[in-house]
């Protein structure tokens, strides 16, 4: 069994009397330790997939499994614990707490989960050893995103979910971040899922899931993914 399984998952939103099928019979899987890129145009349903996978939203029907555990159908409280212990989340806009230093932002996450990685170590790992005591406002966008990644990693999650991690960053910095994510996946063995509209990212992925109109239109694996630094877009 795959590490992550999406089996015929449907998500329907009710907007007035109109039913909108954001995800409609989505089926895909991921293996442990893979760098997965979920790609698709705006409105294809990738954010919904992200929400469901990240435990922020529940599926209308279908089954979602993570490491053999059924995620779909969990209660709100269980979902909270799921997010807490199993998921690391990297936001497009970093979502750091402005009033905490880099280190504290990492601790914010690590303090609530079962067996966190040491915050300073993680920050070192993401290359911010000497910026640990700075406030987000004192850091550049890339640095902030590094902090965000460190925050996600510190929880030692089963799955690292990244929502357009480079969306708010310039090209070079974006590359650096991608590199960091790729390296993280490689060196720590974390399963990393990147949600993006940028199909260029597919080159660095072990697995690419292309989403279109609420379905996994194509799912393919790369035997030899490219290094993040050499990818161009």
């Amino acid at each position: 069994m795959a590490f992550v399984e999406f089996i015929d998952v449907t998500k329907t939103y009710h907007s007035g009397s109109v039913e909108v099928h954001a995800v409609n019979g989505m089926t895909f899987s991921m293996e442990r330790g893979e760098l997965v890129v979920i790609v698709g145009p705006s409105g294809a349903g990738k954010t919904t997939v992200l929400n469901m996978l990240g435990g922020m939203d529940s599926a209308t029907s279908g089954t979602i499994l993570l490491d053999g555990r059924k995620i779909s159908g969990l209660s709100e409280r269980e979902l909270t614990l799921y997010r807490r212990h199993d998921i690391g989340f990297v936001f497009q806009f970093y979502n750091l707490v402005q009033n905490l230093t880099a280190l504290e932002n990492v601790e914010l996450a690590s303090q609530i989960c079962r067996d966190p990685l040491p915050a300073d170590q993680v920050l070192e790992q993401v290359g911010l050893a000497d910026r640990m005591d700075n406030f987000p406002a004192q850091l550049s966008g890339g640095e902030q995103q590094r902090v965000a990644i460190a925050r996600a990693l510190a929880k030692n999650p089963k799955l690292l979910l990244c929502d357009e991690p480079t969306g708010a960053l310039d090209y070079q910095t974006g590359k650096q971040i991608l590199k960091l994510l790729q390296d993280t996946c490689r060196t720590t063995g974390h399963t990393v899922a990147i949600v993006t509209h940028n199909s260029a990212f597919t080159q660095i992925a072990d697995r690419v899931i292309e989403v279109r109109e609420g379905r996994a239109a194509r799912e393919q694996t790369n035997e030899h993914p490219a290094d993040a630094l050499v990818v161009e877009w």
Binding site: N51, N99, E104, I112
Partner: protein, 1182 residues
């Protein structure tokens, strides 16, 4: 303004209703409170004015030291500006009401006018009688109709007294008998009187505790006829159209007051003249009466004296009689004794005579031993002699008889011879025969002659011879009859002679041996002598016997006489005693009468002197400000005004802060839109106008709602709270809204909000449109001071760190929250603290300071002996301890003879044991002051009022009946200031008092402690009331209860404050939380995504609010202390000092309640937090 613009504003209101309501709410609170509180005073004054006008309450009251008459009423009415005048009587008395005794005021009521009046609504009474002032509302029962009926107040309950019960007036400030017809009054109804609006005290008096506890209205005829009116009530022309207590009203009344004062002298003089002439007339009458009575009494005395003298004469006569009787008795006794002696001599004589006689008889051969025997013997002898003599006499008689018979025989023989014509010695037959022959012959001749004569021719001679011959014949016939008769007699006599001769012979024979007649006669004479001697002796004997009887009788009579005399003597003695008693009584009566007359004379003289020295009365012109009830009420409304002026500032401050933060947030939210507008070419003013319009819409709505609601609610709450102690009816709903106040309050509220809004908007608008289009750079995180304290900081969890940093990051919010919450806490603390301060009056006074719980006061005329008796009695009950005697004087205190004074109770303890029942100490240090003979201790409030400290001089003034200061005051040097809450007192040692008065102090008040048991106390009270001289018995518990009742007003205000504090807390915290959440939606969503549980999210967000609330709470306690102090000193009245400390529990409550409000709001705000969608975290920053 363009329609699109208006639409946008409307939409923005709709889209942010919470924000809009927050501003509306706080402005409503601020304006409402300000307007509402400010209107309390005017509304209360208006209510009082309505009552005063509606009941035709007096504007001016005249009091004279000598009262008034109807004539005075007329005189006063003539003074310009006076509309109506009504004289009335009132008298203060100590009365027994059920179990209690208290001072009451008994006032006259015009019953006819009262009956004819009709109440209209709660504050007006209609009457046709324009001079019926101070009209009274009948609440229950009926008007008094008899002299012993009364109505009492309906506005204050006195335990155990209601309709049907009886009130007894015991004694008064003046002699009640001179004023009242009846001393007991049956309650027939209850009333409300505008003259007594303050139910805490109906006025002050010189009696009892100095406070009038109940008022009674009685009919005019309950007062003694001709008692002068004690006061006169006036209304001023035009005063009813002005509000009582207002400057205009006071000015108008002052004008008339001044005019009355101008007329004062002539009014007083008129009254004086009336009084003197009336009094003189009465006195003259009395004098005449006195003289009459004195004459009557003298007459009576004289009559009594006369009677007594007569009695004395009678007694003297009796005594003379008694003496005479005694002499007579003595004489009788002497006589009796003489008689006795004679008797004894007579007896001896008789005895010797008898024995002589007896001897003589014996010698004659008659043996006798007693006189009786002698007599018997003598009589026997006499009989024998008589017999002898009889025999002799019989012989002689017989012999005589014989002789007689012989003579008789001879005489018959003569007759016969004569008749017969025959010689003597012829026999009878012969004599008879001879005669019979003669007769025959004659008869034959007569018969022949008769024949002849019968011939008719016979001669006369023949006829005559015939008659003669017939006659001869008849004579012869008669002779013959006689002869027969003598013949018979002769025969008889011869026979008798024969028997007599025979008898004689016998007798002669018999007498042959008998003594002779002479002898017999001699014997007979002797016997007769003897008998006569016996008779004499017997007579003597009898006389002796009779004398003996007489003498015995004499002795008896003597004894009887003695008895009689003794009885007489006794009677005489009784009579004398009676007389003496009568005399004594007379003397006494005379003396008494004399002294009574002397007294009366003296009284008359004194009365005359009094009349001669009647002074022109003092006249006092008093307006409503001198009426305790009306003045207290007015002062309370003014106090309300000053509290109202300060209180709502918190609300305005918070309103400004709320507006500022809210509008800042709104502007921030609208950054892009503002930028867009700017880019589109709108100018600053136009853009700002939106926010100003938004804010004004909220503020104006809030102000309108707040003012409309609270200008009704607050005055109603406050007035009804005050109605516990004031009998002034609430005004009809809706209460008038004062336009100036409403405008002022509304403008203030709206202005403050707009100013804050302008402040919030103006900074953003200065930025260039381009910058505005970008999201505002998040405020940078900053290190705070606390981080430098590594040991603490490093131990804090990230969320605490965030909280701490956030607290200092948003300063506006910090201020708004801290000030708002501190306002909330402060309001609560003011409420609770006010409660404490006021209840501390009681709790601080009774227990820590006053240890006695029983006050027994004696009458003014009680003696030292009465007081000692009382103390002995109290000690004897075993239920009373700590007995201390003091003297209490009602005086006035001040620092300047011309300046203001206040009433004080001066207490002069008999000895230093006063400290056993009263603790004199400093309020702050609790250091106790010793009480010495030269001590002059002021209670704290009094010392504060005049700024007096130990060493300063206080003036104590005497006061007259009406409470006016008399004299220049007695200066005393203050030695200490003592903690005290109720009343203003001066404790003066005996030595110090000596400089005020040299009168001997009776120490007629006793302080003591009694076992706190109702049964014991009521038994004690009953005993004490029954005792001579005891005037009042007060258990402090009763006083405490009275205060508790009065002070329950405060609880109402506490409730108002708690509610408004809650509202304030709600608005501030709601607003804060709202802003906090909406501003940090992204952060919250991120945290949720990170796997924060609900609890952790709440803690993360709410901790901050809780800490701010906590901070505000603590600060509020400080603010509250200041505010409470202000309110307490403003609300305080002269008579009491409020407690100066707030209890720890009140701090606790205020703190806890604020936190409770905070938690409640946070609890409600959870939903908002729960609704934050995690998807927000994915959204781009605007």
């Amino acid at each position: 303004m363009r329609r699109a613009y208006v639409t946008e504003i409307l939409r923005s209101i709709k889209g942010s209703l919470g924000r809009f309501l927050a501003i509306t709410g706080i402005v409503a609170l601020g304006c409402g409170f300000y307007a509402g509180l400010l209107m309390c005073g005017p509304d209360m004054r208006a209510a009082a004015d309505a009552l005063y006008d509606g009941t035709n309450l007096y504007d001016i009251r005249l009091v004279s030291t000598m009262g008034f008459t109807r004539a005075d009423a007329e005189r006063v009415r003539d003074v310009a500006g006076v509309r109506a005048s009504m004289p009335a009587i009132s008298v203060d008395a100590m009365a027994r009401l059920g179990e209690e005794q208290m001072a009451v005021r008994i006032g006259s009521l015009d019953i006819d006018a009262a009956k004819a009046s009709e109440s209209q609504g709660a504050s007006a009474i209609l009457s046709d009688d324009g001079s019926y002032l101070n009209r009274v509302f009948l609440r229950e029962g009926h008007w008094p109709s008899a002299a012993d009926e009364c109505v009492i107040t309906a506005d204050k309950a006195v335990a155990g007294i209601g309709i049907g019960d009886t009130i007894e007036a015991i004694y008064g400030s003046v002699s009640l008998d001179e004023v009242l017809v009846s001393r007991t009054f049956k309650v027939v109804g209850t009333v409300s009187s505008p003259s007594y609006p303050y139910t805490g005290s109906f006025g002050s008096t010189t009696l009892g505790s100095g406070m009038i506890g109940e008022y009674l209205y009685v009919a005019q005829d309950a007062f003694v006829e001709d008692v002068p009116y004690t006061e006169m009530y006036l209304t001023v022309e035009g005063a009813d159209s002005l509000e009582s207590g207002s400057d205009a009203y006071q000015e108008l009344v002052d004008e008339v007051t001044a005019r009355l004062e101008e007329h004062e002298d002539e009014l007083a003089q008129a009254r004086h003249d009336d009084l003197v002439s009336a009094a003189q007339a009465t006195l003259d009458e009395r004098k005449a009466e006195f003289e009459r009575e004195r004459a009557d009494a003298q007459r009576e005395l004289d009559a009594a004296k006369e009677k007594l003298d007569a009695a004395a004469q009678e007694i003297a006569d009796g005594e003379q009689e008694y003496a005479d009787g005694l002499a007579q008795l003595e004489q009788s006794r002497v006589q009796l004794e003489e008689g006795q002696r004679q008797l004894e001599a007579g007896e001896a004589q008789v005895a010797s005579g008898t024995s002589e006689l007896l001897a003589q008889l014996s010698s004659q051969g008659m043996q006798a031993s007693t006189l009786a025997e002698a007599r018997a013997a003598l009589e026997r002898s006499r009989d024998q002699v008589s017999e002898g003599i009889g025999s002799v006499a019989a012989l002689e008689a017989a012999s005589n008889y014989v002789d007689e018979l012989k003579a008789k025989v001879a005489r018959y023989e003569d007759f016969i011879a004569e008749l017969s014509g025959e010689p003597l010695g012829t026999s009878i037959e012969q004599a008879r025969a001879a005669l019979a022959t003669a007769l025959e012959t004659t008869r034959e001749l007569a018969a022949e002659l008769e024949e002849l004569a019968e011939d008719p021719e016979a001669e006369d001679a023949v006829v005559r011879s015939a008659a003669w011959m017939a006659e001869q014949a008849r004579q012869l016939e008669t002779r013959l009859v006689q002869l027969d008769h003598y013949a018979e007699l002769l025969l008889q006599a011869r026979e008798d002679l024969a028997s007599a001769q025979q008898e004689l012979a016998q007798l002669e024979e018999q007498l042959a041996s008998a003594p002779s007649r002479e002898e017999l006669e001699a014997t007979r004479t002797r016997i007769a002598e003897g008998l006569s001697a016996v008779s004499q002796l017997e007579a003597a004997q009898r006389q002796v016997e009779s004398s003996r009887t007489t003498i015995a009788e004499g002795w008896r009579q003597l004894a009887a006489g003695q008895d009689e005399l003794a009885a007489g003597k006794e009677k005489l003695d009784a009579g004398r005693r009676e007389y003496e008693e009568g005399l004594a009584t007379y003397e006494k009566s005379r003396a008494e009468a004399q002294s009574a007359f002397d007294d009366a004379q003296r009284q008359l003289d004194e009365a005359q002197e009094r009349i001669d020295t009647i002074e022109v009365p003092d006249l006092y012109v008093l307006d409503r400000t001198k009426s305790e009830g009306a003045a207290t009420y007015h002062a309370d409304t003014m106090r309300m005004d000053s509290i109202a002026a300060v209180f709502p500032f918190i609300f305005f401050l918070v309103a400004a802060l709320v507006a500022l933060t809210t509008m800042t947030r709104m502007v921030e939210d609208d950054r892009v839109s503002i930028g867009t507008h700017k880019a589109l070419g709108y100018d600053t003013a136009q853009i700002a106008a939106k926010y100003l319009a938004y804010a004004s819409a909220a503020a104006v709505t809030g102000a309108a709602i707040g003012i409309a609601a609270l200008s009704q609610v607050l005055p109603i709450v406050v007035t009804s709270a005050y109605s516990i102690i004031y009998a002034i009816p609430l005004q009809a709903f809706p209460l008038p809204v004062s336009v100036p106040i409403a405008l002022r309050s509304g403008l203030l509220g709206v202005g403050v909000t707009l100013l804050a809004t302008w402040g919030a908007v103006v900074s953003s608008l200065r930025e260039a449109p381009a910058t505005l289009m970008l999201p505002r750079a998040p405020a940078a995180g900053k290190r705070i001071l606390l981080e430098r304290v590594t040991p603490i900081w490093s131990r804090m969890s990230f969320s605490w760190k965030v909280t701490c940093r956030n607290l200092f990051r948003y300063k506006r919010r910090l201020f708004m929250t801290v000030i708002g919450i501190s306002g909330c806490t402060a309001l609560l603390l003011v409420g609770f603290g006010l409660h404490d301060s006021i209840w501390d009056i009681i709790d601080g006074q009774y227990g820590p300071i006053i240890h006695y719980d029983t006050t027994v006061a004696l009458d003014d005329d009680a003696t030292e002996l009465d007081a000692r008796d009382l103390v002995d009695y109290l000690e004897g009950t075993g239920e009373v301890t700590g007995i201390v005697r003091v003297q209490q004087e009602n005086m006035q205190a001040g620092v300047d003879a011309k300046g203001e004074t206040i009433r004080v109770s001066v207490v002069i303890p008999q000895d230093e044991h006063i400290t056993d029942v009263i603790t004199f100490r400093d309020r702050r240090t609790h250091e106790e002051h010793a009480f010495a003979e030269n001590s002059v201790m002021l209670t704290e409030k009094l010392s504060l009022k005049y700024g007096l400290a130990p060493g300063d001089t206080v003036l104590l003034f005497d006061q007259d009946e009406i409470g006016n200061v008399r004299g220049e005051g007695h200066p005393l040097t203050v030695t200490a200031v003592a903690e005290n809450y109720v009343g203003n007192l001066v404790y003066v040692g005996r030595d110090a008092w000596a400089s005020v008065s040299d009168k001997t102090l009776p120490f007629s008040t006793v302080f003591a402690s009694t076992t706190p048991d109702d049964a014991v106390r009521s038994a004690l009270a009953e005993d004490l009331h029954g005792r001579e001289g005891v005037s009042t018995v007060v258990f402090t518990d009763e006083t405490i209860n009275l205060y508790r009742n009065m002070l329950s007003v405060v609880d109402m205000i506490v409730v108002v404050l708690i509610v408004s504090a809650g509202a304030l807390a709600f608005i501030v915290l709601y607003n804060l939380t709202n802003i906090n959440i909406s501003e940090r939606v992204r952060e919250i969503a991120s945290l949720k995504v990170l796997g924060f549980t609900r609890g952790e999210v709440y803690a993360y967000i709410f901790r901050e609010i809780a800490i701010l609330a906590l901070l505000g709470d603590v600060l509020g306690l400080g603010l509250g202390i200041l505010l409470e102090r202000f309110v307490v000193t403003t609300a305080e009245v002269d008579y009491v000092m409020f407690g100066r400390s707030i209890h720890p529990a009140s701090f606790g409550w205020s703190f806890a309640l604020t936190m409770l409000f905070t938690l409640l709001i946070l609890f409600l705000m959870r939903h908002k937090l729960n609704r934050v969608d995690m998807v927000e975290s994915l959204k781009s920053v605007e």
